[in-house]
């Protein structure tokens, strides 16, 4: 179903939902994250292996009450200051954490996509994580008696991902680092996919990562919708933005005025990017 991003977020992301915006450095759905902020969604449980800047923004704007994750930082730069402020000082509201390792998260997402109640892994050996996360348990192999870790399936109410292309019927093609995106979509009750472009024919290579239209909720064309993350074949990662975010996010007021100017006062992601370009010109 082709929808404008604004409509897709309005209809499919509801207050209190479990929401996964996935992407492992590549194809992070920033435009969709901004739209969630603009529409003032609240009480979300955010899920993601690698919460980064867009989750820092969502958390700093008070959209989230809980985070299910395995690594939360600004890769190569440092901390997520808004995430830390929420966890360490409860600002703008407390944030509950359910914390896994990457291997645990992928097992949980794959179980979700597979309609299994749990996933198993040889994991968490000797780690303190199971002490603080009741969703890490242990089972015995019925053949060898070996003890293995188990995690419950993740089933987001809605998963949002960004991809390179969709065709007019809504079939989606992505390539490059595809992370956990397919599993996150298949594990979810609803899904939104933003794409760089809508084309007549996908011309997918054999065995490409394709999500057939009938497993995708809404498809929205948002050119550049992964910025400052990247879309292989379209544009590179804007590392300067990630570095600058460290300064923007370090201070509550600086963060709030940045969000007000760049997100709340813009109509959509094109508007956001125009404001950013102006800032660069005036710099």
């Amino acid at each position: 179903m082709m929808l404008q991003l604004r409509e897709a977020i309005r209809e499919m992301v509801r207050d209190g939902d479990v929401v996964a915006l996935e992407g492992f450095t590549h194809l992070i759905p920033f435009a969709a994250g901004h739209e969630i902020i603009r529409q003032g969604k609240r009480n979300l449980t955010l899920v993601r292996m690698t919460p980064d800047v867009i989750y820092d923004q969502l958390i700093g704007c008070g959209c989230a009450v809980k985070l299910i994750f395995s690594w939360g930082g600004n890769p190569g730069v440092g901390s997520l200051h808004r995430l830390r402020d929420a966890v360490e000082r409860g600002w703008p509201r407390p944030l509950a954490l359910e914390e896994h390792s990457h291997a645990g998260m992928v097992a949980a997402y794959a179980a979700g996509a597979s309609h299994l109640p749990f996933g198993i892994l040889r994991g968490y050996l000797g780690s303190d994580l199971p002490k603080y996360n009741q969703n890490i348990r242990f089972i015995e192999c019925p053949f060898t008696g070996e003890r293995l870790a188990a995690v419950p399936a993740i089933h987001p109410d809605v998963t949002v991902v960004h991809a390179q292309k969709a065709d007019r019927r809504g079939n989606v093609l992505m390539w490059g680092l595809v992370g956990i995106q397919k599993e996150a979509v298949l594990a979810a009750r609803r899904s939104i996919v933003t794409v760089e472009e809508i084309v007549d024919e996908l011309n997918a290579p054999p065995n490409a990562v394709v999500l057939p239209a009938w497993v995708v909720g809404a498809v929205s064309e948002v050119k550049g919708g992964a910025f400052p993350s990247y879309a292989q074949g379209y544009y590179k990662r804007n590392n300067a933005f990630y570095k600058q975010w460290d300064r923007v996010s370090a201070d509550r007021e600086t963060f709030q005025s940045w969000i007000e100017r760049h997100v709340m006062s813009t109509r959509d992601f094109d508007g956001f990017k125009r404001i950013l370009e102006q800032a660069v010109k005036h710099a």
């Binding site: 690594w71 896994h100 994991g123 994580l129 490059g176 595809v178």
Partner: protein
């Protein structure tokens, strides 16, 4: 700056790179390890296979990526797979010879904390968390760890054990039947620490050129054992420095 001048971080990265043997399959953790692993590939270990948790197998970047998911890693890889597959078929599958990890805190048995400083429920400082490290530490054939050495990072007791080294030492790791043998070396900006073959306690076996033993002891939060056969790491060669700076996009002097 003359060719022979180098920073402590450069020495650390060069010393870490030297530990990676040619032909090893190396799972590259987030942070400092990526520079060391790629430096090894571009100097003495051209046959090393670098696996990143973002899903790339055999990445050969010319320029060091800021993150472990930059496009360069995928474009230069032999294969790019989902993160499910990377963790299940490749890491857990037992195909990794060396796990290369960073850390925020480490203890004398090379257990690692990357989760939290202070109490978990009301932390003094929230760190990024586990990422791939717990299973990299458990499943890789052996583990190399690289981090800067000081009293805040080398601690008597970890606030949180994110990823296991040699647990409480001795045979305690063996008893838990981890698939991998655990940490083989910790490479810092001051020297190299190797677990004792019996007690598994980290022992200073090498100090970097120009660093004193006292300086290392001073930077360690427990009474650090020093090997009777203490060696001194050779300073970075001109070739190593040049390769590292090219990788980091830093113009070389001269």
């Amino acid at each position: 700056m003359p060719d022979t001048a180098y920073t402590a971080d450069e020495m650390m990265t060069v010393a870490a790179a030297r530990m990676l043997r040619n032909g090893a399959v190396c799972f590259v953790g987030i942070g400092l390890p990526s520079a060391a692993a790629n430096l090894a590939r571009l100097t003495h270990a051209p046959g090393v296979v670098l696996i990143y948790e973002s899903g790339t197998i055999g990445s050969k970047p010319d320029v060091l990526p800021l993150s472990i998911g930059d496009g360069e890693l995928a474009e230069t890889a032999d294969a790019v797979v989902s993160t499910v597959e990377i963790f299940s078929y490749w890491l857990q599958g037992g195909r990794v010879d060396v796990g290369f990890l960073g850390a925020a805190q480490i203890d004398r048995f090379a257990n690692i904390n990357t989760t939290v400083i202070g109490d978990y429920k009301s932390p003094a400082a929230r760190l990024p968390g586990a990422g791939g490290a717990p299973e990299i530490a458990a499943s890789s054939g052996e583990v190399l760890i690289t981090l800067r050495q000081n009293k805040r990072s080398f601690v008597e007791k970890l606030d949180f054990v994110t990823s296991c080294g040699h647990l409480s030492g001795g045979t305690s790791r063996e008893q838990l039947r981890f698939p991998g043998r655990g940490p083989a070396a910790v490479i810092t900006d001051l020297g190299i620490l190797i677990p004792d073959s019996v007690t598994k306690e980290l022992t200073l076996t090498s100090i970097h050129h120009g660093i004193s033993v006292e300086c290392v002891l001073e930077a360690t939060g427990w009474p650090l054992k020093v090997s009777p056969h203490l060696q001194t790491s050779a300073p970075p060669s001109a070739e190593e420095l040049s390769a590292l700076r090219n990788l980091q996009g830093i113009p070389n002097a001269g």
